[in-house]
C-alpha cells in the first residue's frame, strides 16, 4: 500500500510541482491550501507524512504542527517543514515544536524526495 502524503502550501505554483512529483514517486497525495484545510484533512484521514509550509494565512505551519503533536493518535505522523525562513533560530523553533525535518526554500526536488523516503518505513 502506498504511503499517504499531505502537502500543505498556500502557493499553487509549488503545490502543482510537489503534487506531480510525489505522485510520480508513487505516493498517495492530497493537498491543502492553508492551515485550517490541513487540520481538517489530517483529522479526516491521518497521512503518513506532511509537507508543511510555515508561512500561511490563517493558521501557520507551526500551529498546525503543534496541533498535530498535541493529539496522541497522530504521534507517528512525520512532518517536514518547508519554509522561506532560513534563519538558524527558525530552524531550531520548528524542530522544537515537533517537526521531524526542516527544509529551507529553495530546495532540490531530488533531495526532498530522499528526505521523504528516509522518514517513511521502507515496507512499501
Amino acid at each position: 500500500m502506498a504511503h499517504k502524503i499531505l502537502i500543505v502550501d498556500d502557493e499553487p505554483n509549488i503545490l502543482l510541482s510537489l503534487e506531480y512529483l510525489m505522485q510520480r514517486e508513487g505516493f498517495e497525495v492530497r493537498v491543502a491550501r492553508d492551515g485550517l484545510q490541513a487540520i481538517e484533512a489530517i483529522e479526516q484521514d491521518a497521512p503518513d507524512l506532511i509537507l508543511l509550509d510555515v508561512m500561511m494565512p490563517g493558521k501557520t505551519g507551526l500551529e498546525v504542527c503543534q496541533h498535530v503533536r498535541a493529539i496522541d493518535r497522530l504521534q507517528s505522523v512525520q512532518i517536514i517543514m518547508l519554509t522561506a525562513k532560513g534563519r538558524e533560530t527558525d530552524v531550531a523553533k520548528g524542530l522544537a515544536l515537533g517537526a521531524n525535518a526542516y527544509v529551507t526554500k529553495p530546495f532540490s526536488t531530488r533531495d526532498l524526495v530522499a528526505q521523504v523516503r528516509s522518514l517513511l518505513p521502507s515496507a512499501a
Partner: protein, 733 residues
Amino acid sequence: MTRTRVSIRLRRIFAMLAPGFVLALFGVLLSALAWLGLSQPQRAAVAASAESLIAMAIMGWLIASAALALAAQRLFHDHVDVLAQLEEQTRIRVAGQTRQALAGAGGLEARALAVAISDLAAARDHLLDDIDHQVRQASLGIERERQRLAALMAELNQSVVVCNLDGRILLYNNRARLQYQALSGSPALADGAGAIGLGRSIYAVFDTKLVEHALDTIKRRLARGAGNASAQFVTTTRGGQLLRVQVAAVLDSADAAAQAGGEDAHPHLGGFVLLLDNLTRDFEQQSLRDQLLHAMTEGSRSALANLQAAVEMLEYPDLEPAMRERFLAVVREESRAMSERVQTLAQGAASGLKTRWPMEDMLGADLIAAIARRIDNTEGMLARVDAVDPAIWLHVDSFSLMQSLAYLAARLQQEFDVHRVDLRLSGAGEHAHLDLVWHGTVMSTETVMAWELDPIRVGGESTPLTVRDVVERHAGAFWFERERARHEAFFRFLLPLASGREVPAAAAATHHDSRPAFYDFDLFQTSDMARDLQDRRLDSLSYTVFDTETTGLDPSQGDEIIQIGATRIVNGKLLHQEGFEQLVDPQRPVPAASTRIHGITPDMVRGKPDIHEVLAAFHAFAHDTVLVAHNAAFDMRFLQLKEAQSGVAFEQPVLDTLLLSDLVHPQQESHGLEAIAQRLGVAVVGRHTALADAVVTAEVFLKLVALLADKGIVTLGQAREASQRSRFARVRY
C-alpha cells in the same frame, strides 16, 4: 596678653625682693641661734650693745639686699624679658605680618635662640612660597584644561551631559541644550528654559530605572576589573523620539578611592557622562533597510522554490504535453514576478547608516539574577534561579529582555494564577536557551501568540515594544513548550551568545592611566542633597530667583500676573545663561497705570499662554530649588491664589530679600530693591522687566548671603527663622 604682662611685672618684683627677704630671714635665724648659745652674763653683755649691733646688721642687710636686687633684676631681664619679647616677635612672625629677622638681645643663649627661630621662619616662608607657586601653577593648568574641554565640548557633534552620582548635571554642551529642547514634550514656553541646567536632575528627562540599570552594568564591570566600563540604552522620550544614550563612568582617582575607605583596588564611580544620539531617523532607515533585505532574501526564497521545482519537473523526459505547458506557465509567471520584485526593490533601496540596538555582552548568570530580582519585586511572585550554566556569555539588550520576562511573569500571575517561576539558562550551539518555567497550568498557542504581540506592560509602565520586537532585535526566537512528563511548561527565548569576551582584568590597570584626565574638576563631590534642607548652608543651595509683573496690587480683587521672570543660582553662582522669561495673557484688561510701571501693553500679552500653562512651565523650572523674591509675600500670594485652579503648588521654601536685608541692616530706612542694590553696590540696568528685576534680586541675594554669614546666619533654617523675626514679616497681602 595683658595677663602675661602683669604676671611678668609681679614676677620681676618678686625676683628682686626675694634675695633680701631670704637674707633677712637668714640673719634673724642666725641671731636667734647665737642668742640661744650664749650664757647669762654673755647675753647681758650683748643686750648692752644691742642697739648698735642691730643698727649695723640692718645697715649691712640693706646694702646686701640692694645689691642682690640689682643682680636679680639684671638676671630677670636677660632670661625672662628677652624671652618674652622673643615670643612676641615670633608670634608676629607666625601670623605672617612681616618677614624681618628677629632682633636678638639678652644672653648668648637667647640670641642663639632668636637666630634659630629666624632660620625656622625663613624656611617656613620658603615652603609657603613654594606651595603658593605650585597652587598657582596647578590652577593655571586646571584653567587651561577647562578651556580645552570647553572648546572640545562646543565643537563636539554629540550631546554631552556630565552628572554626579545623584544625577545632577555638572556640565553640558550647547548641542545637548538644543537636543533637550527638541526632546521635551512640553510646549516651548520661555524658550524651553528649564529642561537642562546645571545642578538639575537628569532624571527629569530619563527614567531613573534606565540610568540605574546602566550604572549597575557599569559597576558590575568595574567590579570584575574591566577597563572599558560603559553601557548604553535606547529610550523613547516624551516627544516620541528614539534616543540612544551611552553611559560612561567617571572614576574617582585611585587615591580618592583608597581614601574613601576600601582596600579593594577597583576605582569607584564618581559620576557619569551621557552621550546622547537621536536615533529616530537612523532607526527608520534601519527598519526600511531591514524590510528591503528581508524582501530580497526571504521573499525570494518561495519564488525560487517554485521555479526550481517546476524546472526540475520539466526535466522529466516522459512529461505529457499538457503538464509540460502548466509547468512552463509556472516558470514564466514566477520569473516575471521575480523581475518585478527586483525592480521595485532597486528603486526603493535607500542608503543609510546601519544602526544597531544597544546589544551588549553580559554574563548569563548576571542577567538571570537581575531578571529574578525584577520578577521578585512583583508582589506575590517568586522567582527561583534553577539550572544556570555559569560559563554562558550573552549578547543582549538586557533592559528590554528583563522587561519582557517580567511582563510574561506578570501575565502568568494575572491570567493563570501562577505564583512561582523558575529561570533556566543553558547553551545550545551558537545560542542559549533562556527559559521561564512554571508548573501546572497549560495554555493555548493562541494565548501565547497574543502575549507575544501585545505591548509590554510592567507594573503600570508601558512600552511600545512587544516580546516579538525584543526577540527580533536579538535575531532570536521565542516559543512555548511543555514537558508533559514533568508537568512543566515554559517560555523559551533563543538568544545569541557573545562572540568575544570582555577585556580581561590584566589589561585594565594600564587602561585607566591612559585616560585623559578631564575630570580634574571639583565637580564630582557627591552633593549633600540627602541632608535636611533646613540644615544646609545657604551658599550650597540652588535657588530660583523670580519676579512677577502684575496688572495691579490686589490679587484677591482680580489682579493678575502678566509676566514671570526668573534666574537660577547654583553653587553660589548666578547662571546668566539659564533665565526664564514669559509673558502671560491675563485674560482681563491691563490698566494703563500699571503699563507705566512695567511697560507691558495689552497688545504684548494678547495671545500669549495663559497663567496655568506658564505656571506649569515655571514650576518645572523651579523644581528642586529654593524660591527667592523681593517682597516674596506679594508674589507668593499671586501664585497661591492660582494653586487650586491650576493644580500647580509651590511647596518649596521661600526666602525674601526684603526680610534678609532688614536682618543685615536693621537701621536702614528703605529696603526697596533699588535702595538695597545701591547700598550693596549692585549695578541696576533695565529694571522693571521681570527678568531684569529677578537678576538684580539674585545679585542682591548673593551679597546678602555673605553678610548674613557674618551675623552667624549660615543655614537655610537659620535664615528662615531670623526672617520671621523681622518687623516686615507681618506684612500680609
